[in-house]
């Protein structure tokens, strides 16, 4: 698959697309979990996202794709280079979107000694793994619920700390590994551990389109794409370019979007009403709302943004309430409705 399916050509699935765009604008929201039926375009969307993202600047020859402009986060080699004051050569590269293949072994994920040089020359050199490749980009895990527990734990730890530490054969390597984790899975095929659920910033449920127009559109576009990839990609190029510019602009804007005390209070109200544990819910909610405001070129985070991102930022953080029949998404909606009607009546 040389040319991926265009992101903007994906029919419906708006929540999933929005969650991915938010993560692309502000990686600090902390990953996206996409759960849903088979054949709903989860993998298609992730692969499409890779092609959509604006290119980024990286140090030439750096195995970890370090950012030459960043002073704090870089690998050991880049750090010494920067300290020496030498001019750093850089080039534009595509944002990495790394697939974690099923059956991957730990040594290839975290990195290990290079087998070839060990065997042939008896030399110890570190060969970076998938985590190094994913630095500054995305790491995609399909069927995250079927992944071995120890690998999941490892990935979550690295994703949270932004740093990968490898100790092998007396070799100790520490390198930056900041990436956005995107997991997808079908809960019917295996249960997700609650600890895992909570570590993803955003979580969206996708379902098969139920209306016939959408279904036909899905098949039609897929058919056109497979028959004549070239033409199809050209047709969608404008939409793709527009979206790419929007992301790039939003990344700039996100630093200047204002988060007022009123918005913070509202976020806290929502989280308290839902009884989420810890403060991770508030943080994610605010960050996601800010990214959304930046995407839509709104100067201040308002109720509208908070309301729209709350379900994806909070639904998976709720405790299971045995006395409540409804699903967590509905509970979030209900809490939001309550809070916002109160506000409306107070201002009226």
């Amino acid at each position: 698959m040389s040319s991926p399916f265009p992101f903007s050509a994906i029919v419906a699935q708006d929540t999933m697309k929005l969650a991915m765009l938010i993560a692309a604008v502000d990686p600090s929201v902390g990953g996206v979990l996409v759960l849903g039926d088979r054949g709903t375009g989860k993998s298609t969307a992730v692969r499409a996202l890779a092609a959509l993202l604006p290119k980024m600047r990286a140090t030439v020859g750096c195995k970890y794709g370090c950012d030459p402009a960043s002073s704090s986060v870089s690998c050991a080699e880049c750090a010494t280079l920067k300290a020496s004051g030498a001019t750093i050569k850089s080039h534009l590269i595509s944002v990495p979107v790394i697939d974690l293949p099923l059956g991957a072994t730990e040594d290839r994920v975290v990195g290990a000694l290079d087998l070839e040089s060990a065997l042939a020359r008896g030399v110890k050199t570190f060969e970076p793994g998938l985590l190094a490749k994913a630095n500054r980009g995305f790491l995609y895990i399909d069927e995250v619920n079927l992944l071995e527990d120890h690998l999941v734990d490892l990935l979550i730890d690295v994703a949270a700390s932004g740093e990968n530490l490898v100790e092998r054969e007396g070799l100790s390597v520490r390198h930056p590994a900041k990436f956005v984790l995107i997991g997808s899975g079908n809960p019917e095929e295996g249960e997700l551990r609650p600890q895992l659920l909570d570590r993803f910033g955003l979580s969206v449920d996708v379902t098969t389109p139920q209306n016939i127009e959408e279904r036909v559109a899905v098949i039609k576009r897929r058919d056109q794409f497979e028959c004549d990839t070239q033409t199809f990609t050209t047709t969608w190029k404008r939409a793709e370019d527009k979206l790419r510019k929007q992301i790039a602009a939003a990344r700039e804007r996100v630093k200047t979007v204002e988060v007022t005390d009123a918005a913070l209070t509202r976020a806290a109200q929502i989280c308290m009403a839902l009884g989420t544990d810890g403060l991770r819910g508030e943080l994610t909610l605010i960050r996601a709302a800010r990214a959304l405001a930046a995407l839509e070129d709104v100067a201040t985070v308002g109720d509208d943004q908070l309301r729209r991102v709350a379900p994806m930022a909070l639904a998976h953080r709720l405790r299971r309430d045995p006395l409540d029949d409804s699903g967590s998404a509905i509970r979030v909606e209900r809490a939001l409705a309550e809070i916002f009607t109160e506000v409306a009546s107070a201002t009226a």
């Binding site: 054949g39 065997l119 019917e188």
Partner: protein, 570 residues
């Protein structure tokens, strides 16, 4: 492809022998890569594990196999024709759903007997040879009307997966190509509907699955099935007159000028596809239209038992790096394998550390990093837990029936090596009459001594059952709960009499039980079906069965059907 092929064989890995001999890493391609351009045969697909099927699915989706193992990474082309043999004898033995979703054609060979060779039509060599590849190379196009028709037919058969609809479109196009047509014709989409859609049908076009079905009592449901069977044997013209709701929707759109034509086409498609449905599938479909527990899909654990990781028993899984201290067994072979490539380095290091003085070099230098421990997975056992209402309101003879049912089930469970437990509630409290056991004798003895009479402390009974089920689950069993009660609680949780409080307590307990996600069957034992028991069943998200006159035989049959159904719908 051998059943449960390891990742090394499936995806490829390091060829240790060649690697050591050549002094450089040599990769060995896996089965999926070697099947590229050919056919991959998966026998006994009904026993395929989720991990094997997920690897197969990834290869089917992307046409390549990606690997990152044993110090190697890369990808191989892997486009192959997958033929899976479903040799499952019972309904609950089916290949993984994710895999089935990606297979275009389903052929049922059960009706072809090898002993009656005359009945099988063998394709003449002429027909095979007449296929001209050069003609078939041109790509056929399909128009929107035809795609819409296929989508509508798929929905009419209750097929919601987009992948299946896509496979049908691909089949229609391929069919057109084979016959040398540039444009897909009606024959092609008919063929696609017959070959792809019909065998995957989940419901019949005229019988939309009704969510309320779970409310129906079993008697109703059996009547229903008989009715459907009759309508099926009758001429199929009436099916055509009932368009599915989806068709109605599209027909309402005014811009659709050729709707009449397409409608006609869809009808013909439906007819053709319907006649292509194998007769036993039809029967199966009707069987699945029986009330299905709303709990299905809630949790994957059915009575077949969830997979448990275990250190010592069960089917071996791939070993992983780890410490053998925590009770796991050291996998010597895997440990040696992982140590082998590093021997050169380690020898050199050791020699350097010991200096020129030298000393004894052990034959193999193994470090803690190399340690691999073996892991095993085993099926968890099934526990059927009965919660029996032994109060005065459940008349004494009903108690006897319940006892009889438990004994019958016990015999059945004994054969399957399942466990049984009994909780009873009467008077002011609930007690565990029989802790989970396989012992027939103990069960009979404890049941025989079960006294009856007194109030109905339903909340306490549910609480006790939940406690037992929960602890059984923690010990690795998959519990199924069967309640035999009339649902008329009159003793609150704190032991005080009073209907309203007792009913509220019972409902609360039922909701807590639902959170556990157990498989629940509520058998209403009252002479007339009660709303109370049905509300409880709903609160537990369990299946409700009103069995006013059911004897021991009836109850045990219902319980067996429940456990079987959860297996099938998993």
């Amino acid at each position: 492809m051998p059943l449960n092929a390891s990742d090394d064989r499936l995806l490829g890995g390091l060829d240790l022998v060649a690697t050591l001999a050549m002094g450089r890493p040599v990769a060995e391609s896996g089965l999926l890569a070697r099947a590229h351009g050919g056919v991959l045969l998966a026998t006994m697909a009904e026993r395929m594990s989720a991990s094997t099927s997920s690897r197969l699915c990834a290869a089917i989706d992307t046409g390549r196999v990606q690997f990152a193992r044993d110090g190697l990474h890369g990808q191989d082309a892997a486009r192959f024709v997958l033929i899976a043999f479903d040799e499952g004898a019972a309904d609950d033995e089916r290949p993984p759903a994710a895999l089935l979703d990606r297979l275009a054609f389903r052929l049922d060979l059960s009706e072809i007997s090898p002993r009656v060779p005359g009945e099988v039509e063998t394709p003449s060599s002429e027909a095979v040879n007449s296929f001209d590849e050069s003609v078939a190379l041109a790509k056929a196009t399909i128009d929107e009307e035809q795609i819409t028709a296929l989508c509508n037919v798929a929905l009419a058969f209750g097929i919601t997966s987009m992948r299946v609809a896509q496979l049908a479109v691909a089949t229609a196009k391929t069919s057109a190509m084979v016959f040398g047509r540039a444009q897909v014709a009606e024959e092609d989409i008919t063929m696609a509907a017959e070959l792809v859609l019909a065998p995957q049908a989940k419901s019949l076009p005229n019988s939309q699955p009704q969510p309320d079905d779970s409310e129906a009592s079993q008697d109703d449901a059996t009547d229903d099935t008989q009715m459907r069977q009759e309508s099926e044997t009758a001429p199929q013209s009436d099916l055509r007159d009932t368009p599915s709701p989806q068709e109605k929707d599209t027909n309402d759109s005014p811009k659709d000028t050729s709707k009449g034509e397409r409608e006609a086409m869809e009808d013909r498609l439906l007819d053709a596809a319907q006649s292509a449905i194998p007769s036993d599938l039809l029967a199966q479909l009707q069987a699945t239209m029986l009330p299905v527990s709303a709990a299905q899909g809630q949790r994957s654990g059915g009575s077949a038992g969830r997979q448990q990781l275990s250190k010592l028993r069960g089917r071996p899984l791939a070993s992983r790096r780890g410490d053998p201290k925590s009770g796991a067994r050291l996998d010597v072979l895997a440990t040696l394998r992982s140590a082998a490539p590093w021997q050169t380095i380690r020898r050199a290091e050791r020699a350097a550390a010991q200096g020129a003085a030298g000393g004894m070099q052990p034959p193999v230098l193994i470090r803690r990093d190399d340690w691999h421990v073996s892991r095993r997975a085993h099926r968890s056992e099934t526990l059927t837990l009965f919660a029996v209402d032994a109060s005065g309101s459940a008349a004494l003879h009903r108690l006897a029936e319940a006892k009889g049912a438990v004994e019958l089930l016990l015999a059945e469970c004994y054969v399957r090596r399942d466990q049984v437990a009994v909780v009873s509630f009467r008077g002011k409290q609930a007690e565990t009459l029989l802790a989970p056991t396989r012992s027939l004798v103990r069960a009979k003895r404890s049941l025989a001594s079960l006294p009856g009479g007194g109030g109905t402390p339903l909340a306490a009974g549910i609480d006790r059952a939940l406690l037992l089920a929960d602890s059984a689950q923690r010990r690795g069993m998959s519990p199924t709960l069967v309640f035999l009660t009339d649902g008329r609680a009159n003793i609150a949780r704190d032991g005080t009499p009073g209907r309203p409080q007792a009913a509220a307590d019972a409902l609360g307990a039922a909701k807590r039980l639902r959170a556990g996600g157990f498989n629940v069957l509520m058998i209403d034992t009252s002479p007339e079906p009660q709303d109370a028991a049905r509300a409880l069943a709903d609160a537990m998200r369990g299946r409700y069965l009103g069995l006013p006159y059911a004897g021991a035989q009836g109850i045990s049959a219902a319980v067996l059907a429940q456990t079987k159904q959860t297996k099938a719908t998993r």
